[in-house]
């Protein structure tokens, strides 16, 4: 797997994909995209990184345990839902900032992104980790 070409290209590819995944996440509200797809792309990016170098390196790049991202994502989804309770509206009612560019649905989408990314990243990394690396 770890040919020279792949290893040279992998960080670049990975950065591009990560950036692209954020772009997809943020444009999702009005154009094709969204948190789910974004999360999948980001997970694919980290899978490429792990293949090129090692699972250990990939985990170092992530800094946090992948499932921690997933946990934060679910938490963000819950918080986005709870925010509406302050204004007395039912759970998960969208609350928007003036101008309608960002609101709790956006936060919720970020939660979806993190949950999907964290879970799939952990699954791929754990599957790839054969226990013979440091």
């Amino acid at each position: 797997m770890s040919t020279l070409i792949f290893r040279t290209m992998a960080p670049l590819l990975c950065c591009l994909m990560a950036l692209f995944s954020l772009f997809i996440l943020l444009r999702g509200h009005n154009d094709p995209g969204g948190g789910f797809i974004g999360g999948l792309i980001a997970a694919a990016a980290i899978a490429i990184y792990a293949m090129a170098f090692s699972v250990h390196h990939a985990r170092e790049v992530l800094r946090l345990h992948p499932l921690a991202y997933a946990g934060v994502g679910v938490l963000a989804g819950g918080v986005a839902g709870l925010a509406s309770l302050i204004s007395g509206a039912p759970f998960l009612t969208g609350i928007w900032l003036p101008g309608y560019h960002f609101g709790t649905p956006g936060l919720f989408d970020i939660g979806v992104y993190l949950a999907v990314f964290g879970t799939l990243a952990e699954v791929t990394l754990a599957l790839e980790d054969r226990g013979n690396e440091p």
């Binding site: 999702g28 694919a44 994502g73 998960l92």
Partner: protein, 791 residues
Amino acid sequence: MELDFDTFTILLMLAPFAAAALAPLVSRQTGPAAGWILAIVPAGLFAALFGMIDEVAAGAPQRFAINWVPALGLNLSISIDGLALTFALMITGIGAIIVLYSATYLGDHPRRGTFLATMFVFMGAMLGVVLSDSLVALFCFWELTSVTSFLLIGFDRERMEARRAALQALIVTGAGGLALLAGGILLYLAGGNWDLHTLPAIASPLHFDPAYPWILVLILVAAFTKSAQLPFHFWLPNAMQAPTPVSAYLHSATMVQAGIYLLARMSPVLGGTAMWTLLLTLFGGATLLWGALMALSQTDLKQMLAQTTIASLGLMVLLLGLGGESAAMAVAAYFVAHALYKAALFLVAGLIEHGTGTRDLTRLGGFRDEMTITFIITALAALSMFGLPPFLGWFAKEEIFAATSAGPWAQTAQLLVLVIGNGLLAVIALAFLIRPFFGAQPPTPQTPRDGPFAMWLGPAVLGLLGFSVVFSVASVGQLLLAPMASSILGEPVESHLALSVDIAGLPFWLSIGTWALAAVIYLRLDAIRALLLAAQRRLNWSLDKGFDGAYFGLVRLAGAVTRALHHGQLELYIGLFFVALALTLILPFALTNDWPAVPGWPQLTFYEWGAVAIAVVGVLTVLGAPARLFAVLALGVQGLAVALLYLLFGAPDLGFTQLMVETVSVVIIALVLTRLDVGVADVRPAGERLRDGFLALCCGMGVTLLLLKVLETKFDSTLSSFFAQNSVPVAHGRNIVNVILVDFRGLDTLGEISVVMTAGIAILALLRKQRSRAPLPSAPPKRPRKKAEAT
């Protein structure tokens, strides 16, 4: 009463549980005095309940309710009428004696505190059974008595027999509890109310309700299991594995009487029909004769008493089946008399065992000088059981005979059953009185002696109570028995108990006949016992053995079913899953012969045909590829082609998602394959490819058929137009798919991401578990791997 009734009753019902919480502490701190201190609780309860006798006898049942689950119309209601009060007096009165007795009986047993606590929990549960006016509360307390009975029978947990007996009692009475729940729910559906005191009002429509036979049978199963009626009687003799005070309290005086209580409570509701009379008299009569006969075959004092308890319970069921004023009175009198003398005799059995080291009738004799006090108590109790005037047992017997001769069903057969049953019970009373105390004295493990004061006080009180009735027959009848009989009958009953003997009446001569029969049989007791034992040996089967057979059979069956379904072969699991899926999809079409119409040939451009061709090539490769990894990659190709089709047909979101899902799933499946240790040249045999391909084609065809069928139905565009119209103005987003995901159906998505995360944690846990086993296990099926090595 200074306290108002509600508070008073709540305190009454909580007191035993509070005592249970304190019992271990008191037992540890005060040692030998613990019995005296703890007995204050039930004694106080007895006194409190005793103070209510006048009010209840005046015909004013005490009742109150607190909201329990208002949404279900469920109240925690308490009702104290004659039936409940008499039972409650027995539970607390005998309870006080038992607590005192058992604290000494157990001596320095390390788990004495636990024992006493369990006893108190049982006492509270039993009080709850008789005082509850709500069927639901009755059921809960009923089950709690089963559980405490289980704990107490199995108290001697080191012994296998005790554990087995405890489990058996729990299974039998627990099954009965479930029957009670089902019957209670049916009763609620018929009456629209959980409150027991309202049920007699619906009795007459209920008797013609189609559910009536079900209700009756379920309630009878509950009562018969609890009260050890044929054919559920076998658990009670085994329950004698419990310490003697438990046998005296739970398995003669109170818990087994819960079934009688239930029948008595239901008598004004379900009783009076031909079915009720037939079932109760039939099973009650059979149990009476069976128990009495079995009692003759025993030599162990406790076993003798257990069998006579079965017989006595059968007698009461029979009487409840007869119905009528005399029968109700007879049940009341017999219940009180039986509870007093039977508890006393059980405690005496404990005293004899405590004093001599054995309770085998053949190894006892001539102890009346060494164990004078025990002898006097035995005489008091046994003569009441024998039915000699002026003991309470006599009055009970007179009422029983009066019930049959005056009842509408006064038939010779019943009378005969009652005379023979009572005669056999009288034989046991004679044997219990004469064998241990007269005749030659055989050697015993211990020098015979009377027990300590705390142990003989209780049975002495019980014995004397059975006798002291002579001083106040009329008031006992009016204040205690008549109110109970009124509750059983559902209308006021006048007591006619008096200290006189009607020499001209039939009951008197039946009593004489009973005694004569008893005397004759007693003289031939040993010969009859030998005969019965020989018959039992010849039979070599009993319901007890049948229970074991069923029990272990069930365990074996469960094991076999588990091994058949949970075999650990992943390939078979998945195969089974897809076979089920294919059948579910295709069978409905095949059975209804309602296939979807074949769609027309689509008009596609050449590049659209190109995408379709890629997908078809991908699918064919998946089906035919010999190597698994290759098949997985081909699956990805097919998926990408489908994503392309989505894009071409105007679903960019779907296409985008499909693309990413395909990519990531191919990566993950490939990674799983590398973990499966399948070797480089992993080749699937042709048979396997054929089988899997066929299955896959079936599933695919099923899904296609389903989709075609769905498309044939008229499309309801309400939702899609709603989303299209409201996406921008309400949710401020133009991408309808995403708006649905994060806003309109946000709750669904929240659930989904939680599931995704949980699945991730589960996968991680599985992988870690696998990793901890060294070396890496080879999960794939053995067969293909050998082939791979061979090629």
